[in-house]
Symmetry: C2
Subunit: 336 residues, 2 copies
């Protein structure tokens, strides 16, 4: 926009009225007569006046935008969350500033500072895998910045949260395997500093115990990416002969495992049943189609914005922190 935009001041000068009159006319203030209003509004429309948001933001000391810190955009779950967030945020007149942490705590801290500097009205966060300390967020919260955490949250943070009941997810997946007759079930787990990692694991463990099956530490492997499946390839194949079920912490890892097993002559689900987590589009592409825990990204995104909006619209602020929990369900296909 080189050709400098029309301002309220220009209109005032052209129409021989004061700046305040123009401002009020445009917002339909009762103090202005109908004819003056018409005059000004017609002029504004004719010359396509658009208020300068930069000035507005400074004036009202807020930006009408919300920030998002997300580990990585290129994962179906996260991109569907973003989609839900964008949808509702824009509808409510906020725009969205996106930062990705790339699973890096330092980047996450930079992102947070950037967003604060930009005076976003609120922030949505899903924690990075490497985040071990939470002071940065606690400081921001203490200073009054509304923050809603979603999916990857921490108990060390008192704030609004939107999660799926990951314990339940781990439990129903494992119970399903048990009911199918599996006795030796491996869990490929997320890092245990992540609450979702611990919860899913706990759900898995409790389901085993409840069924009277011993929980063996050597049946729980930290493995939550395709790459790690390759790294652990030999180990996985070694134990493959002794097991009959695997509960994997996400779909793409589950798919990688299935592929490795199939390449080595194991039949899914006849020899080994596999359950994933997420229910992304890949789940129905792999053969056998993947049985998996469904996680509603789009809805979680919307719900996060809703919670945030609730704070923004009630700056009175003594509402208790809320945690919105989505109940996971099992999408049964063929792999288990």
């Amino acid at each position: 926009m080189k050709s400098t935009q029309l301002t309220i001041k220009d209109i005032a000068r052209s129409l021989n009225v004061s700046i305040s009159t123009v401002s009020r006319a445009l917002k339909d203030h009762p103090d202005i007569s109908q004819e003056t209003k018409d005059l000004i509004r017609n002029y504004a429309k004719k010359f396509n006046y658009r208020p300068n948001v930069l000035a507005l933001n400074l004036r009202r000391q807020r930006s009408y935008s919300i920030g998002l810190i997300i580990p990585a955009i290129v994962h179906h779950f996260f991109s569907s969350v973003i989609s839900g967030i964008e949808e509702l945020a824009h509808k409510e007149g906020y725009n969205l500033i996106i930062c990705q942490s790339n699973e890096n705590q330092y980047r996450e801290m930079i992102n947070l500072q950037t967003l604060i500097d930009h005076r976003v009205d609120g922030i949505l966060v899903s924690l990075s895998k490497t985040t071990q300390t939470y002071e940065h967020f606690n400081d921001a919260l203490a200073s009054g910045m509304p923050i809603v955490f979603f999916d990857r949250v921490s108990e060390q943070l008192e704030a609004d949260k939107v999660i799926t009941d990951d314990y339940e997810g781990g439990r129903i997946a494992t119970e399903y395997l048990i009911n199918k007759g599996c006795k030796n079930i491996v869990h490929l787990a997320a890092p245990q500093n992540l609450l979702i990692g611990r919860e899913r694991r706990n759900g898995y463990c409790d389901a085993l115990r409840k069924a009277g099956i011993e929980v063996r530490e050597d049946r729980i492997l930290k493995c939550d990416t395709r790459e790690e499946v390759q790294t652990l390839r030999h180990h996985i194949l070694n134990i493959a002969t002794e097991i009959d079920g695997i509960f994997v912490v996400n779909d793409s890892t589950a798919i990688a495992v299935i592929q490795v097993l199939q390449q080595n002559g194991f039949r899914i689900p006849e020899d080994i049943s596999v359950i994933g987590y997420g229910d992304g589009p890949n789940a129905s592409i792999i053969k056998p189609e993947l049985t998996t825990v469904v996680q509603k990204g789009y809805e979680m995104g919307r719900e996060s914005v809703k919670l945030l909006l609730q704070r923004l619209n009630n700056p009175a602020a003594d509402i208790d922190f809320q945690t919105k929990v989505f109940k996971p369900t099992l999408k049964i296909r063929q792999s288990a």
Copy 2:
């Protein structure tokens, strides 16, 4: 941020210097003595002074942010583009405001206006499928807003562009099928108002002609989503017996086609070879693994930002519009 932030004015008052001195000290202006600088900077650091970006933006009449209008976030190609954009933009000190058009021209126009209102420094756009007129963009361009179009572009827009050579993509895919011995090749095409739709189709047609194969209009179907595959299911199965190859405009549609064909007893690639477009993660999950044209989303995102930055850093602005073309390659797997 309720507890109102420290300002330059506060510092000035506390230290008994003028506002201008504080401002200059913080930016290391030579007019200020070293001791005054130290005094002020230490104070600023101690009390964690952070410049108010809202005020800065108003002052410099720009927002140091770039806007993105994208048809949908939840597609692997687009989300990888976003990832590339975010990466470079943040590194260069810009932040990213994301709007999705949901393949809707009206939404696209609203998005554009929003971004202009926010005085973004530049805009990145991939056109929606339904966009038929381009005045909104041409107006913005005429007013001096730097815009870079990527992937989904139009010849009716004179601006910087980042594309893959889609004609070439269509050509190499089709030629590969021909070389494999296919004689009856169907093309599942994107909407023809999209340049990428026409280009891929033209590449397909020319490859056929060059091989002396007749181009038949009834062998070209508008079909570029999973849903459309279901709609056209019967038609596809009807012609399936007469054909031996399909060139599909994107991966997910290709995968849907493969699934439909397989369910009805056709063997891929023995009976019918299939080639997709995009090379997303799904391509190596489907069995047979999908042969497909690779499209580098992340790199295209980065390149778009580069082009935009080039404009922003040379507001002199008489650089000719550039079009950066990525050469597509064929990733050969099993489906063809």
